[in-house]
Structure formats: C-alpha cells, structure tokens
Amino acid sequence: MMCKRCGQRPATMHMTEISNGKKSETHLCEACAREIQAQGFGFSFSPQLQLHDFLAGLLNHELGGNKHDHDELTGKRCEKCGVFEGQIVKHGLLGCGDCYPYFEDRLLPLLRRIHGRTRHTGKVPERTGGRARLIKEVNNLKSVLKEAVSREDFEQAAQVRDQIRQIEKSLEDGGGA
C-alpha cells in the first residue's frame, strides 16, 4: 500500500481516528506521518505522546475494536492494579507489571507486531529474576519433597518430583538465562 498523502513511499503508519463515533483510517509513510504530527504539535512536540496515540490505536485493535470509545472505565480489569482495558486502550499504557500476564493473550500479537518477537533474550536481573529464581524454586520444592516423603504422601511427592525435573530441565536448556 502506498502513502495516501504523498503517494510515493510505502505506507508504514496506519492510524485509526475516531471522531463523533465514526472510524476512519489513514495510511501514511513515516515521513508524512511525522510531518503531520509536527504541524499539529509545533516545536515542543513530544515524540512519546505521538507513540502513545499510535499504540492506543493498535491496542484498540487488539483489545476489542472500538467499543471503548466513550467510556474508558470499561472492559476487563487487572486484578492487581485495577486498571481497565478501556484505560489501556485510551492511553496506550499498561497499569502495572501484572497487567502483562493478565492481558497476555491479547498483548502477545501486539508485541509481535511491535518487536517481531515475543521472548526476552537480554539481561536478567541478578536478584529479582532469571535462573536465581528458578534455582530458588527448585530448592523450595526439594524441601517440600523431603517433607512429603517423610509423611509418606507419595502422591504429592511424585507430583513435586516431576515439577523439579521440569524446572531442572529448563535450567539445563538455558531457561531463565
């Protein structure tokens, strides 16, 4: 698809605008999109805001069309921070870290669209994340296993043993790294 404004470059920015309940779509190349934004916001224009508008459009698409146009306090709510789906769609921002697993099925397609991938391969914090946490979990489970064996609760012991094996395997495969 070519840019609707200049007709010369391929359209890479797809903006959905909703006014008076009517949805209209514009397909622009990056240069034209930037020019239009610059005109609208002038010198002190902040690039983050533009990104949010853009994202909000994408999220709106992923999180259920345009049903949240009028009231942002609608839709599913994050159990932890209480943010509404409608708020996320409107502002392009999640409410807290727990929103990620909570809205996961609908965020993943969006993340794939933004980043091309959906799995982190970079730095892992030493204390709060990664292998350290898995190893800690294995150690916890080992003490649960010990206790289950001493209670002769072999059914639970077998379950816990399988859990430990699974985590250890993922550690061997480089999981959490």
Binding site: A38, F45, K80, V83, L93, G97, H115, H120, K123, G129
Partner: protein, 355 residues
C-alpha cells in the same frame, strides 16, 4: 552541590567532542527503563505513592555500595527547582521533556559529571541514562549495567522470564533499552543524499529523530539514530546493530565531505567562513539561525578548515543560547526580539575571546 553546578554551568561531559569518531558522532546515549515490582506504573500513582517510589530510590542510591561503584550522585526533587532550572536540565539532555509534566511527583538523580542521570516517575519508575561524547555505546552500556546492578541489590524490579523488564509502554518491554547516537550530517545534506540514508535506516529497524525529537529535525543538521525494538534482542545485539549502521553513515558522511573538499573547496570554505563571520559580528540571532551557523562552522572545524574554535564551545553554546539559559543569565524573562539581541551579544563575546 552537584545540582547547582549542573544548572549554573552550561557545560556537560558529553559536549567535550573527544570520543571516537567525534568529528561526526557528537554523543552516545543509552537509557534503560526499570519498574518496581508490585507498584502500579507512574501514570496511575497518586502523590503519596509517587513519593514512596522516590523514597525507595533515594534509599537505594544513598547506599554506600552504590556510591562506591557509581560515583558521586545526588537526588533532587523537580519541585525544588524553578521552571527555568528544570528546562535547563532538558536542554542539557539530562532529563526528557516528559519529566516536566506533573513535576511535583518527579525526581532526578544526577552524577556530578552528568554522565549518569536517573529520572524517577517519568513513564516508568526509573529511567537510567548514560550520555557520553563520541561513538561509545558499549562504554555507555557498561556504565549503565553497573548502575543497574547496584540499584537492583536494594530495589525489586518488575521482571518476567518471558518478557524481560516490564514497562508501562509495550514498546519498551524486554531490555527496556533505547540506545542512540547523535550524528552531525551536513555534507550528506549538501549533496542531497540525506533522504536516501535516513530512509535506509528505517528499513533496518532503527529510527531517526531531530535534536529534541520530531519536528526539530533539521536543526543544526543533527540526527539521533536509535533502536526501535527492545524485545527478543539482547543489549549487545541492539548496540552492535546501531554501531554497524552508524559506522556506515559515518563513512558516507566522510566520503561526502571529501568529495565536497575535492570538487567544491571554495564553496565549502565560503559557507564555513560566512558562518564564522556572522557568528562573530551579528547583532540579532534567532535560535534557529544560530543553530544553522553552528552546523556550518562545525563542519569547518571537523574538516580542519578552521582552527582556534573547538567543537566543545559550539556544543556548549547550543545549550547556552536556548531561551531557558538566556533567561537565567539575564535574570529576567525577555521578549523574543530582545532574546535574539542578547543571544547575538553572548555569542559575539565568546567569539571575541578566540584567537
């Protein structure tokens, strides 16, 4: 009192023009986004909760282990500064313009040489930044990594095995890292090759911005090249990708400069010396005109055509001639015209000191 010095002195370490490839790559910057586990992101926090976040970071940075690793750092509340002082931090590229809205909930941590700054309660709880001269992204990352590690000893970060560092905006999730290099590309513009180069950049997953973001693109022929993707690539991959692309652009800018020197030497010399002369003698200069003249004179310095003026002075002046610093120097708000007169006077004074 690092903050007072930061506000009173227009100089900052990144302006020194002494890093690798400094004749084209002005500065390298990395910032990473981090959030505290179990606390809603800043845009959902009320005053009290926002202050709790600031307090948690304050406790983390006063830790002796942090200061021994990171250096002399100080936390300041944005509400303790005047509007002009806050704007000077933006103009020096130490904080983002976004930190100025709802400033009573925000704070900044600065290292005394201004190489490290941490914005608190911007879009994410923490935005750790490193800004140094020349093309030195790996060095910037090494510094950030160290700061990040020592903060993480006390702060619990929101992190997931699968998605990495969790951020308010899904465009930052993963590494939370935005790495950028500020390039001076006047020759590519002069030979009208800039469009092609910038277009190519967007095809390899990088973005181009002007000095203060979009809409300011052409100012001083300065362009920021940065990564777009933060998830599914390691920090090193992101850096290597930018360095590879930036090195290409540097080679092309260099080739353009050589070609201009070889074929149009008198045109280049005329451009550079007209800029020099105007800066030295003009009595009215708008910010935009001054930035254009700086770019032309800077080209002359970088090509070795002008001696006696150092790029460091021009870098510093780009901050000093902004409205905020002029207001600070004159002691009062000025009308645009008076500011243009004052700006020209300030530049004349600096240039009259040169040999």
């Amino acid at each position: 009192m690092p903050l007072k010095k930061t506000i009173n002195d227009s100089h900052s370490r990144w302006m020194d023009a002494d890093g690798p490839a400094a004749d084209i790559a002005i500065s390298s910057r990395i910032r990473v986004a981090r959030n505290l586990a179990g606390i809603p992101f800043p845009h959902l926090l009320d005053q009290k909760k926002a202050e709790d976040v600031i307090h948690a970071v304050r406790l983390a940075v006063i830790d002796k282990d942090v200061s021994s690793k990171v250096g002399n750092i100080e936390l300041s509340l944005l509400s303790e500064m005047s509007p002009v002082e806050r704007q000077i931090l933006v103009d020096k590229h130490l904080i983002s313009p976004e930190l100025l809205s709802n400033f009573e909930r925000k704070a900044v941590v600065l290292r005394d040489d201004e190489v490290i700054s941490i914005m608190i309660n911007e879009e994410d709880h923490l935005r750790i930044q490193c800004l140094i001269p020349g093309l030195q992204l790996q060095e910037a990352w090494d510094l950030i990594n160290q700061v990040d590690d020592s903060l993480e000893r006390t702060l619990d970060y929101a992190f997931s095995e699968k998605l990495g560092y969790l951020t308010a905006c899904p465009t930052n999730v993963g590494t939370g890292m935005r790495a950028s290099v500020m390039l001076h590309l006047p020759a590519l513009k002069l030979i009208k090759q800039l469009g092609g180069v910038l277009n190519a950049i967007s095809k390899v997953g990088l973005t181009v911005r002007g000095l203060f973001g979009e809409g300011t693109e052409a100012l001083g022929d300065l362009f920021q090249i940065s990564n777009q993707v933060t998830l599914g690539q390691s920090e090193e991959e992101i850096i290597n990708n930018i360095v590879a692309v930036v090195s290409q652009i540097i080679t092309q800018e260099q080739a353009a400069r050589n070609a201009l020197y070889k074929n149009r030497r008198e045109v280049i010399e005329d451009l550079v010396y007209r800029a020099y002369g105007t800066l030295k003698y003009a009595h009215i200069l708008s910010y935009e005109e001054a930035m254009r003249l700086f770019s032309e004179l800077r080209l002359g310095i970088e090509m070795g055509l002008v001696s006696g003026v150092h790029a460091r002075l021009l870098n510093e002046l780009t901050v000093r001639i902004r409205p905020a610093f002029l207001t600070k120097l004159s002691g009062n708000e000025m009308l645009a015209h008076n500011r243009d007169v004052f700006r020209a006077e300030l530049i004349r004074k600096e240039f009259s000191k040169l040999q």
